[in-house]
């Protein structure tokens, strides 16, 4: 199943890793460097799912999720948070902002693919 995914992460390495994990599965991957960039990229695409980091400059993951959910047509897009944070209060904040799921870095590429297929499939 070919999905279009937007990955938002300020680390180039992470973006590369995500791309490497998803491209072989036939996904179309768009990337952005932070929340602000993410919203800009989102403007031109219709992703089936979004992956976002939390700690980012300019606009962090919480702000980004908030902003995505504020767009009526994006309310149902699954958003997976991909971060090293694993504190429950962080998860709660992310969920309150509208995140669909939580993946802790470092991630297993096949699991990421499966997770995306599941939430967006």
């Amino acid at each position: 199943m070919s999905l279009t995914v937007l990955a938002v992460d300020d680390s180039r390495t992470m973006r590369d890793m995500i791309r490497m994990a998803l491209l072989p599965a036939g996904f179309t991957v768009h990337v952005a460097e932070d929340g602000v960039d993410g919203l800009e990229v989102l403007d031109g695409i219709e992703p089936d799912a979004i992956i976002t980091d939390i700690n980012m400059p300019r606009m962090d993951g919480f702000g980004f999720i908030d902003a995505v959910r504020a767009q009526e047509r994006r309310r149902g897009v699954p958003i997976l948070v991909l971060t090293t944070e694993s504190a429950p209060e962080m998860k709660m904040r992310a969920r309150n902002a509208g995140a669909t799921g939580w993946i802790v870095k470092p991630f297993d590429p096949t699991k990421l693919v499966k997770a995306l297929q599941m939430v967006a499939g």
């Binding site: 070919s2 999905l3 279009t4 300020d10 680390s11 180039r12 390495t13 992470m14 973006r15 590369d16 890793m17 791309r19 490497m20 179309t28 768009h30 990337v31 952005a32 460097e33 960039d37 800009e40 990229v41 031109g44 695409i45 219709e46 992703p47 089936d48 700690n55 400059p57 959910r69 009526e72 047509r73 309310r75 149902g76 897009v77 699954p78 958003i79 971060t83 090293t84 694993s86 998860k91 969920r95 509208g98 995140a99 669909t100 799921g101 939580w102 993946i103 802790v104 870095k105 470092p106 991630f107 297993d108 699991k111 990421l112 499966k114 997770a115 599941m118 939430v119 967006a120 499939g121």
Partner: protein
């Protein structure tokens, strides 16, 4: 640089490049914090840098890096959250940790042994800052790949229907659960779907899923955003309740959920499937009602299983997405293979040569300067120059990274000699050729150490001199008339010229009775084997002197000079060419051959009179230059262009300055020009002739060799030594 067939290796290589950038912003941020920045973004940047390094390191299994970064980050997080007030001592520790982090990054990159003991030492100090907080130190195990909070190893959807049919004759209570689940409208705001949750649940064991349609209203009164369905899942699984809860972790509070053992379920609640229900029909998307898209859908349909599951975004999305090329790092930076740039630099070199040739032939054709051809040529020359400058700029990098390394050198060396030293840098954005930057690191390190060790006085001496106890080292970079000038200055005691002169005499470096100017005495520091430190310190006394610094700078086509004021401090200035691809050269003629000498070694030109040359023995001459004698070499003879001559009257002589500070005079026949030439490396297949550094193509298309005078003279060997000592004594 990497195996292009292994994407992981490429990403890893790019990770280490990213680390360098992150370490740079870490340094910057710490510097700002140390200077009292109140901006909350500063600590955020610092935190994020460490955090991102940790994140990437985890992906590559670099455990020690993760371990250290994680605990360092934990401390920084306390500062970020204002739970820890960082004073200047703490800042010092943060700097040390940043330095160590950079060591770990490099060790990881180069597969070197990890300095674990140092990590532990620093972590202990760092965590001591936390006081009680450190008790809840987070273990690195927290960063084991935790996978996903969604459980992922699902059976296929097809399997679900099988599951339902599966014989469920016996239900050993200990192995089964009854889960009731009714989503609330808010659940859909998080992009969650009952289907997904139920699938996850089914993955835990064998499941029978029943959908309760009781609440479903007639179509005309159906509100599209209200969920009407609920599910009961009978799960046969040895899993515990926590595992089931985990499935619903993200919808906790967004749905009604009950998890019970079968017996308990029956007793406590009488909510078994009533009325119309669809069992295991969930295999097909069951939950159309509250799908967010329903809002835009004029005719929301009741649960018509297959179609209504309309995924939030229809299939055409993939194509609809304009391929906006927003690739990683594409913001304003493109990473290009160095090889490609080299090729471009070479091509531009060709262009410059070609342009020079064209100018020459058009000039010789006697065209009017106002002719179209000449006007066009002028424009062409201007463009060529612009292209050349732009291409050279591609290779240019700001000296910032180099300067940051120096701040570490200052921290470490000042600690080693127990001096309080502050490094102030200026002009970090000044750009210099990449190769120059790389080759500047060692000499600059030595100069900085030298300033800290020898330049600055001890705190006591500073006190006596009425100076603040903290010494200052300034490191600046600036562009000046087509060159880059880098200065290292200290506010120390300045050069003790009397002592320097005495040492030089004692060591036999200068004749005792030779009067020397202040500047000449200062320059004695660059003589090989010179060291003023009366006691060898742990820092500078490593057998590497300023002479080595000077040699390195000269090999880059640079010059180094020194300026010192007693009691006020010393400044070393390095002047470097902007690039190694072009050279300011002096085009000369020797025995009919056109040759190029680097202009920076030529001190002055002389025309020899009959009295100027003295013969030491046949074939060995010295020339008198302002009261001193300098060995004379005939380039034509040395390069084998002509036999040795006994008389040199009327010859033109270039007085050149050699790397070791000595001088030599080169006999040539004529000076043609001073100009920039494009350096063309000589292919390895050529015999490596001593003294020939490279070649260039002149405007008339002629190939000219670029000489390395120091190398030619060194190849002459025997002439120097005893005889030279003799000439110096004359």
């Amino acid at each position: 640089m990497t195996d292009h067939n292994d994407p992981m290796a490429e990403i890893k290589a790019s990770f280490f490049i990213e680390c360098e950038e992150l370490l740079e912003s870490l340094q910057d941020g710490l510097q700002e914090m140390d200077e009292g920045s109140e901006d909350p973004e500063t600590i955020n940047v610092v935190f994020r840098a460490v955090h991102s390094i940790k994140g990437g390191a985890g992906a590559f299994g670099l455990e020690e890096l993760v371990r250290f970064a994680h605990r360092y980050e934990t401390v920084l997080d306390e500062v970020r959250a204002h739970r820890l007030e960082a004073d200047s001592e703490a800042h010092k520790l943060f700097f040390a940790a940043a330095d160590h982090l950079s060591d770990l990054v490099r060790a990881s990159r180069d597969d070197l042994p990890m300095p674990v003991a140092e990590s532990d030492r620093l972590l202990t100090s760092l965590e001591a800052l936390l006081g009680d907080v450190s008790d809840e130190e987070v273990r690195p195990e927290d960063f084991e790949p935790l996978g996903v909070s969604l459980t992922l190893d699902l059976p296929d959807l097809g399997d679900l229907s099988d599951v339902e049919e599966a014989p469920e004759a016996e239900e050993p209570p200990a192995d089964s659960w009854i889960v009731r689940f009714k989503p609330e409208a808010e659940l859909f705001d998080t992009g969650n779907e009952p289907q997904m949750l139920i699938r996850n649940l089914c993955a835990l064991g064998e499941a029978t899923v029943t959908c309760d349609l009781t609440d479903l209203p007639p179509l005309e009164s159906l509100a599209p955003e209200t969920p009407y369905l609920s599910w009961t899942i009978t799960l046969q699984s040895t899993c515990d309740e926590a595992e089931i809860r985990e499935v619903f972790e993200f919808v906790d509070g967004l749905c009604e959920l009950s998890i019970q053992r079968p017996g308990a379920a029956l007793e406590s609640e009488s909510l078994p499937p009533l009325g119309p229900s669809v069992t295991a029909e969930i295999a097909r998307p069951p939950e159309p009602t509250a799908a967010p898209t329903a809002a835009t859908d004029p005719a929301p349909e009741p649960p018509e299983p297959a179609a209504a599951a309309a995924p939030p975004f229809p299939d055409d999305t993939a194509e609809a997405a304009p391929r906006k090329s927003k690739d990683g790092g594409a913001k304003s930076v493109v990473r290009v293979d160095l090889e490609r740039i080299e090729r471009l630099v070479n091509l531009v070199g060709e262009l410059v040569i070609n342009q020079a040739m064209l100018s020459q032939s058009l000039g010789e054709a006697g065209l009017s300067p106002h002719s179209d051809a000449m006007n066009g040529l002028e424009e062409f020359q201007r463009l060529t120059r612009d292209i050349q400058d732009s291409v050279m700029m591609i290779r240019a990098q700001p000296v910032k990274s180099l300067f940051q390394r120096m701040s570490r050198i200052v921290r470490e060396s000042s600690a080693a000699v127990k001096k309080d030293v502050r490094l102030i840098t200026e002009g970090e954005s000044t750009e210099v050729d990449k190769t120059v930057i790389e080759r500047l690191a060692d000499p600059l390190t030595h100069m900085i150490r030298n300033s800290v060790d020898h330049g600055l006085e001890s705190p006591e001496d500073r006190g006596k001199a009425g100076k603040p106890p903290q010494g200052t080292v300034h490191l600046t970079a600036a562009h000046r008339s087509g060159r880059v000038v880098i200065e290292v200055s200290d506010d120390g005691g300045g050069i003790d010229r009397k002592k320097v002169h005495q040492v030089a005499i004692t060591k036999g470096l200068v004749p005792p009775d030779l009067p020397l100017s202040d500047n000449e005495i200062d320059n004695l520091l660059f003589l090989p084997g010179f060291s003023t430190a009366s006691q060898v310190s742990s820092l500078s006394g490593r057998g590497v002197g300023m002479d080595v610094v000077k040699t390195s700078i000269q090999s880059l086509g640079g010059r180094i000079s020194i300026h010192s004021e007693r009691g006020r401090g010393t400044t070393f200035s390095i002047s470097l060419p902007l690039t190694l691809a072009v050279l300011d050269g002096m085009v000369v003629n020797v025995a009919g051959e056109t040759l190029v000498l680097p202009l920076n070694v030529v001190v002055e030109t002389l025309s020899l009179g009959p009295e100027d040359v003295q013969m030491l023995r046949p074939g060995a001459f010295v020339v008198r230059v302002r009261g001193g004698f300098v060995p004379l070499y005939d380039l034509g003879v040395m390069l084998g262009y002509r036999p040795a001559r006994d008389r040199h009257e009327g010859a033109i002589v270039l007085l050149i300055s050699l790397d070791d500070g000595s001088r030599a005079a080169l006999v040539i026949d004529a000076i043609h020009d001073q100009r920039q030439v494009v350096i063309k490396g000589l292919d390895d297949s050529f015999y490596r002739a001593p003294g020939i550094a490279a070649a260039t193509i002149l405007g008339d298309g002629q190939i000219a060799l670029i000489l390395d005078p120091a190398d030619i003279i060194a190849a002459e060997g025997p002439l120097r030594g005893a005889e030279l000592a003799l000439t110096q004594g004359v």
